[in-house]
Symmetry: C3
Subunit: 270 residues, 3 copies
């Protein structure tokens, strides 16, 4: 809807003006890409995972990303420590439960973060989010190989349960804060041909949440912008690696006018 598009365009400009720091405690596979996505949206990335500095680093941040893609038990403790600092300072925390549902370590770690911290946004694929509320879906490694039946319902249920914005991304993105429900139809199937494009979506959300306290709106804006960049990239290349280069280029080159015109955000009934 038109009002969301206007907001999305404004938030993009706001990131570029304020340049918030996005503190990532994240996986080693996609670190370089998520750092670049942060920069290209206009924010500043830092990847810092030492117990001995996260308290200080988080204090400088506009948002904190907790991504469990290459999790260890030690890292869960560090994430909790950083998360407590973020909660204390009202810094939004964005959780990416990579591979939740595939192993007990990942499912339990995600639930621990959701229960022990005040989380602003939880974003995963269909199987990951399904695994966290026992709604079905199947995760093989980090990939959702079987989605939940009704993602719109699942995000709303999970949002109510976890008292946070919950998002399932995929061909269509579903967002809910338990009361308001949105869908986003930006994006391109080539995103699925590259590793870490879900992690990049999470990073995009963090950039927008750093400048807009209503995290449902901020997340919708982020996913519309990210998806729009993917659509533009697909016009440049239909092969995965050159598509990824074009995706990053188009995030950087995205302007508010593109967003106002191209964002496809809709309200739906829960």
């Amino acid at each position: 809807m038109k009002k969301y598009n206007q907001i999305a365009g404004s938030l993009l400009l706001k990131i570029r003006e304020k340049k918030p720091l996005i503190h990532h405690i994240t996986n080693m596979v996609v670190m370089n890409d998520t750092a670049n996505v942060t920069l290209h949206f206009g924010a500043l990335p830092v990847m810092a995972h030492s117990r001995d500095e996260v308290t200080e680093m988080t204090a400088m941040a506009g948002a904190l990303v907790l991504n469990i893609g290459t999790l260890t038990k030690e890292l869960i403790g560090t994430m909790m420590k950083a998360g407590k600092q973020a909660n204390k300072l009202n810094i939004p925390i964005i959780v990416d439960p990579v591979g939740s549902g595939a192993t007990d370590l990942r499912t339990q770690a995600s639930l621990k973060l959701l229960k022990g911290l005040k989380i602003a946004v939880l974003r995963g694929n269909s199987g990951e989010i399904g695994s966290l509320i026992g709604a079905g879906g199947k995760v093989k490694g980090v990939e959702s190989v079987e989605g939940v039946k009704n993602p719109g319902m699942v995000v709303q249920t999970a949002a109510t349960k976890f008292k946070t914005v919950v998002i399932v991304t995929g061909k269509r993105d579903y967002l809910s804060d338990g009361k308001r429900n949105l869908i986003i139809d930006n994006g391109h199937q080539l995103l699925a041909t590259n590793t870490g494009t879900g992690c990049m979506a999470t990073t995009a959300i963090a950039c927008f949440c750093a400048v807009e306290p209503d995290c449902l709106i901020a997340s919708a804006a982020a996913l519309a912008c990210y998806g729009l960049a993917a659509e533009k990239a697909a016009k440049k290349s239909v092969s995965p690696a050159s598509f990824k280069v074009a995706l990053l280029d188009n995030i950087y080159n995205l302007d508010a006018k593109d967003v106002i015109k191209g964002a496809r955000i809709k309200e739906i009934n829960g």
Copy 2:
């Protein structure tokens, strides 16, 4: 030979149909590329190295990659744990002894994996494989700066000693299971201008071993396909970074017909 080309083409289709999970315990330098190579061949990657989840993760996998590129002592233990699970479930293990011969830690770790586990394929450069059977060659960091004199003989000897398929990749690739000996002449010299192209070859082998129990044949198919994608990439660019983008694109775009026509696999006498 023609029969290998037919098989290589069929196996490529089989990966794309079955989408096996390839569990990597691997180095941090090339993780993003090896994950993407896995996806582009049609399989699903997961990079998971926590002691607390490898047993569960390996159980889901079609193949397990153990790559010692950024090894620590702790990681050797995790590799052994995952490897035992793989052996129990008859999941093929592919070992990449990165930098073996350069430091004692790496040489001993490689030998430990080879002795303590049933390994399906061991792939390295000339110096790395040479170091493991005392056949000469010299490794500087992770690079073979002096190859073994007779790689065809070395792979056969190593295959007999370690009871596994052994592969030395380079300008020409040498493969042996101790009885059968193959060479592959696909590939391009630009591969050597990028870091991790050996690791990517190992990942390719794992994707093919996940769908074909005869790991000598599977490895030959993998290296022919990978080398063929490199040949196609070199037609697109002769500079390293744009060549790498084209290499990844061409892995994704490879089809069975290309492989049947372009694979250069030959049997030789040991």
Copy 3:
């Protein structure tokens, strides 16, 4: 000046002839890029951070890079161990104090390396170097968001204090060994749109210091070459990800003639 350009061209050829090993103990975000930069300049990269092998690995190296971008306390110990070996064998150590000034862990670790080891070159952004001598500047995450007032003076003061070559890179690069002062005007603003371009500059410096004992001259040559490759890349693309691909390609394709013609190195008064 013309003599520096001649030297820079010669050193580039010398790297390609000698292929020195550059041992990196470095951050996980930019590892792949710094490994490729090393290869493209003509040297051999190795990323090895296990306490159990750094002594052996460093002994093979032409230069040692200590980059604290994703630091842990444990890693500081490993860096000290490798550094002591490098000092013993007269191997130049290049320190990149990523994020110094942002957290106490990073500032103190940088100072520990500078005090406990004989460092050949210290390279950072304006805020990082400023933080190490109390000269002002401000670091947000790993980014200098407020530079020091007089970078020419700051590098000279720091060089005298730490008895090493000190470099602040930015739009203009400032180098000093406490007595001689140089500035370099190669480079391009698009470098700032990608993560890790400072780390890559540090790696470039290490490649040149591995073949030239006068580390001030070597560093000037490195930064001129790196900056020149960036200028050429910007002619290929003005978007960040495709610019990065072009940057890496142009490092590889750089020849001595380009350098002799295009390097912009100047002596200044301290």
